[in-house]
């Protein structure tokens, strides 16, 4: 029995039956990381000792009859954007190299309380800005389907770790598609919960009004289990919603779409979408229809402005959020040789500590917020955001969920878009609307594009706090597809 091939739900069952120990499960995943991560580079930090100590504690508890949660003893990888005590947190940036946070993010805390074993911190685009992990200051992660391809981003390390069987589960964060896009291109499941459904406390901010922590898994049920474990109101995050967590695990188990009204978004297809992506998506829609869903086409006319609006709002917020990295209190300090004043040291540190994409966005956002430009840029973008929310509201008046391809293309080659920011930004074309509107969305594998044999993701979008609908649809699609393929899609990955 290869423990790393088991799903989180299977591991959970085996652990509760006493067939395996948390220590064995953890050891198996650490061994897998040791065996493959020099090629995948999913991890920035592997917390071997801490993970084994945690596993030992969970095993001891279980012997005494205490079981913290279904995830007790199940390993999880955490994106390096979450603060973790006892482990470094770099956010993929030089400017935070060697920083050991003195506090745990709420998500980190909830994972620990649930007894999930934190294997380490995963690679990401610097400050979560990017769609490929190529913007990581520590080198890119690679796609387990093809090591020359990107694993998506910004949570590319988390997606790659799950797809490479280095972890059954991983945590990411989604600001413009940073969970769904890597999930799609790595052939796994990833959810952006409703904004405010999972706490941002301890998530190093990129764009505060968009950042949303969320789960990755190899199956829809696994993803739901992790979703449930990290969700719920947090008094430390003012934007956290004080409402019951939607019943995502139950929905994943039910996996029933009969009678559901599903809308295909007109604007999220056509130009710019790879033909193999569109054909797999069309097939997925047919599958849902065959399962009893009522499919209609729905127009969301303002979605076409989502990308430009996003690239004003997100950089504006980031220009302010990243101002705190100034060498005064923590992180990198450059040029403090006794001859320079504080202002010069701040400037030199930021010059040396931030990568090109981060600087580009800080400058973009600084400009967009400037006096005289605010109304034309940031103000206008917020108006577009309102229109996109109205599009969603109107659409959800007619249908229960919306669907689209998760990404316009399959995984592209490492280096292929590195010098073309706009091409890179287009990777998030289909995912950005839900970030701007704050509603829930998931990406679930729906096959391989015939032309390149790489995975394609089906995106399902649900209204705010209706996250359970995502799991109902995704689980039904997953069951139908797996039945059709005869095995999980990931079995076809040949990169390793």
């Amino acid at each position: 029995m290869d423990l790393t091939r088991m799903t989180a739900a299977e591991l959970s069952a085996a652990l509760s039956k006493g067939e395996v120990s948390a220590t064995e499960v953890t050891r198996a995943h650490l061994d897998r990381i040791a065996a493959v991560d020099d090629r995948v580079h999913a991890f920035l930090h592997v917390a071997e000792d801490k993970a084994l100590a945690q596993a030992k504690e969970i095993d001891a508890e279980r012997r005494q009859g205490t079981i913290r949660s279904p995830l007790a003893g199940v390993p999880v990888a955490v994106k390096d954007v979450f603060t973790t005590t006892g482990m470094p947190t770099t956010c993929g940036s030089r400017i935070l190299e060697g920083w050991h946070p003195p506090y745990d993010a709420t998500v980190t805390q909830r994972l620990k309380q649930a007894g999930a074993i934190i294997l380490g911190k995963t690679n990401m685009d610097e400050f979560a800005m990017g769609s490929s992990t190529e913007n990581s200051a520590y080198g890119p992660s690679r796609n387990p389907w093809n090591l020359d391809k990107i694993p998506g981003g910004s949570s590319g390390g988390s997606a790659a770790a799950v797809a490479a069987y280095e972890a059954p589960l991983a945590i990411g964060s989604d600001t413009g598609g940073s969970i769904r896009q890597p999930a799609a291109v790595c052939g796994i499941v990833g959810t952006k919960p409703t904004y405010g459904g999972s706490s941002r406390y301890g998530v190093i901010a990129f764009a505060s009004s968009l950042d949303t922590p969320g789960p990755f898994g190899r199956t829809v049920l696994d993803t739901a289990l992790l979703h449930e474990a990290i969700s719920g109101h947090d008094p430390c995050d003012s934007t956290s919603i004080d409402a019951p967590v939607p019943p995502v695990v139950a929905a994943a188990r039910e996996a029933d779409v009969s009678g559901m009204r599903i809308g295909v978004v007109t604007e999220l297809s056509g130009d710019g979408y790879q033909s193999g992506v569109l054909s797999r998506f069309a097939e997925a829609v047919e599958v849902l229809e065959s399962l009893g869903a009522k499919v209609t086409e729905v127009s969301c006319p303002h979605f076409r402005y989502a990308l430009p609006a996003y690239y004003l709002i997100a950089p504006s917020e980031c220009s302010s959020n990243l101002a705190r990295f100034d060498a005064m209190r923590y992180g990198l300090r450059t040029g403090d040789d006794g001859t320079r004043d504080a202002e010069e040291v701040m400037a030199l540190t930021r010059e040396a500590g931030f990568g090109a994409e981060v600087k580009r966005r800080i400058i973009l956002g600084t400009y967009a917020l400037s006096s005289g430009y605010y109304d034309a840029y940031y103000g206008k973008a917020q108006q577009v955001r309102t229109l996109i929310i109205r599009d969603f509201d109107a659409a959800f008046g007619q249908v229960d969920v919306l669907v689209s391809p998760s990404t316009p293309t399959t995984a592209f080659g490492i280096g292929e878009r590195a010098d073309d920011p706009i091409a890179m930004y287009l990777a998030d074309l289909a995912t950005i609307p839900s970030d701007l509107a704050g509603n829930a969305a998931i990406s679930v594998p729906c096959g391989l594009a015939p032309e390149d044999g790489l995975p394609v993701g089906l995106q399902v979008m649900a209204p705010v706090l209706a996250d359970d609908r995502l799991y109902r649809v995704a689980a039904a699609a997953e069951a139908a597809f797996t039945g059709r393929w005869g095995h999980p899609l990931l079995d076809e990955a040949r990169g390793l």
């Binding site: 947190t89 003195p102 506090y103 301890g202 901010a205 505060s208 209190r329 917020l369």
Partner: protein, 499 residues
């Protein structure tokens, strides 16, 4: 620092009409900070009242302190403002080492309170000062620039930052431009800040100590050539750390700007620093290449929407306005305007009122607090209110004096003992045996001795020179170790010698 020429105040006023405006920052006296649970006590070891939130550590998030909102609404209501039914915080972006996030959470175009006023009286004349806005923000840390001549960051060898202050709730109260005050402008400024301070103290929202920086004032001044109808460029004077400085800063800016304009120059829009020693202002950073603060709504916080019934509840608990309290007490105590000012300026209003409430006569309460106790406070470098003696104890001492159980000298001894922590007046008297000698037998014996020892004096008194009895009284007082009631002794001596 260049010394600029000044035009004498009266001459400046002949040619120019001043326009002033005040921005007052008040640290709220909430138990915890604006956006985290750190306590706000002043004077703690540097960087001990800090956490990930007020240090702005990566990933940390603010949560609004409800009490700070309540206090701000209290202030807004007391200043006759409209309370917003919905408003937001905004980020004010600029880099400075004492700002942990390099932005300050403040309010921009949606303040919590707007459009109010505060009535003040200057030289018997009522002036209504318009209030533009009252908004809530977080304080920054405190920098200490070491080395260098100016104590400012430029030229310093190194700087130390204490983040204990970072995140303390700060209310900014901005007046509308105050016009038409003429030569009274400096005084209007001082009286406004004084009245505001008293009001804030009465509201119980801040300890309003200018010297500790819990009340800080920026003074805007501009001049208009008389008859021109055109307002000049304004300057903003900072580092104004006392009520007296408020007045001096306005006066000095009027004199300086008049000189600039007289010389055909142009007043530069800038921040100026007031210097307590010279009474002058010097140029700070120019606002013309000013920072662009890139305000935008704080995305980490949800809007503040105080429900109407909450605001009504807060309104119902507002105390009587200090100006009304003063007018009422002045009538009750039958004191003049000048005497009332003396009480208020000594910070003794509440103390006197409480002492009267505890049974003392207004005259006695005033006498003790403004006399003996004011001296003690001054010697100890304390505020009157910080003396370790309560109004009830003062009232008890006054009562003992009125009963003749203590004379003034003994009363001073009792005060010393109370201040030294020896207990209530009655405990002190019992412990120290300080009661007036009222045993007339003992007194009469002492009087007999005194008369016998001073026959010349006794003769004069017998001849009707009552005023000559002093040495006899003194002798009796010495003989009783000062523990007799001098007035009673005088009565007894006169009775003996003139009947």
């Amino acid at each position: 620092m260049t010394t600029e020429t000044l035009v004498p105040f009266n001459q400046a006023l002949e040619r120019y009409e001043p326009l002033i405006g005040l921005e007052t920052h008040v640290e709220l006296g909430t138990r915890t900070k604006m956006f985290c649970g750190c306590i706000t006590t002043f004077g703690a070891e540097p960087n001990t009242h800090v956490c990930p939130v007020c240090l702005g550590l990566p990933g940390s998030l603010p949560v609004v302190n409800r009490m700070a909102i309540e206090y701000t609404i209290r202030i807004g209501l007391a200043l006759n403002c409209t309370i917003a039914t919905w408003c937001r915080f905004a980020r004010k972006n600029y880099f400075y080492p004492d700002m942990p996030k390099n932005f300050q959470i403040s309010q921009y175009d949606e303040p919590l309170c707007t459009d109010g006023y505060l009535d003040v009286t200057v030289d018997g004349q009522a002036i209504r000062v318009g209030i533009e806005r009252v908004h809530l923000e977080e304080d920054t840390g405190k920098s200490l620039h070491v080395g260098g001549a100016t104590g400012r960051i430029h030229g310093a060898e190194y700087s130390l930052v204490d983040y204990n202050r970072a995140g303390i709730p700060l209310v900014e109260i901005v007046t509308k431009p105050i016009e038409g005050t003429g030569a009274a402008a400096p005084e209007v400024a001082r009286v406004y800040v004084t009245e505001l301070r008293d009001l804030l103290r009465a509201l119980g929202v801040s300890d309003v100590r200018m010297e500790e920086g819990s009340l800080r004032c920026d003074v805007n001044t501009s001049l208009s050539p008389r008859g021109s109808g055109v307002w000049g460029t304004r300057t903003e004077t900072k580092n104004v750390n006392s009520l007296r400085s408020v007045e001096r800063a306005v006066r000095s800016e009027i004199e300086r700007q008049a000189a600039v304009l007289d010389g055909g120059g142009r007043v530069i829009q800038e921040t100026r620093h007031f210097h307590e020693d010279s009474g002058r202002t010097t140029s700070g950073r120019s606002k013309e290449e000013a920072q662009d603060y890139r305000y935008f709504p704080e995305p980490d916080l949800v809007p503040v929407a105080p429900p109407a019934d909450w605001v009504a509840q807060i309104r119902a608990t507002l105390p009587e306005a200090p100006s009304k309290v003063r007018a009422r007490l002045r009538a009750e105590w039958d004191v003049s305007e000048a005497e009332m000012d003396a009480i208020v300026n000594a910070g003794a209003l509440d103390l006197v009122a409480q002492t009267v409430a505890a049974g003392a006569s207004p005259a006695d309460a005033r006498k003790w607090w403004l006399g003996e106790l004011a001296r003690r406070a001054n010697d100890a470098g304390l505020e009157l209110a910080d003396l370790p003696i309560t109004p009830a104890q003062v009232a008890r001492i006054a009562a003992l004096v009125a009963d003749g159980a203590l004379n003034d000298r003994l009363a001073r001894d009792v005060i010393d003992a109370v201040l030294a922590g020896e207990g209530d007046p009655d405990q002190v008297i019992a412990a120290r045996g300080l009661a007036v000698v009222s045993d007339e037998g003992a007194l009469n014996a002492a009087i007999d001795q005194a008369i016998a020892a001073n026959p010349d004096v006794a003769a004069k008194v017998r001849d009707g020179k009552v005023a000559a009895a002093g040495p006899l009284v003194g002798a009796v007082m010495r003989a009783t170790g000062g523990q007799a009631d001098a007035a009673r002794v005088r009565e007894l001596i006169l009775a003996r010698l003139t009947q």
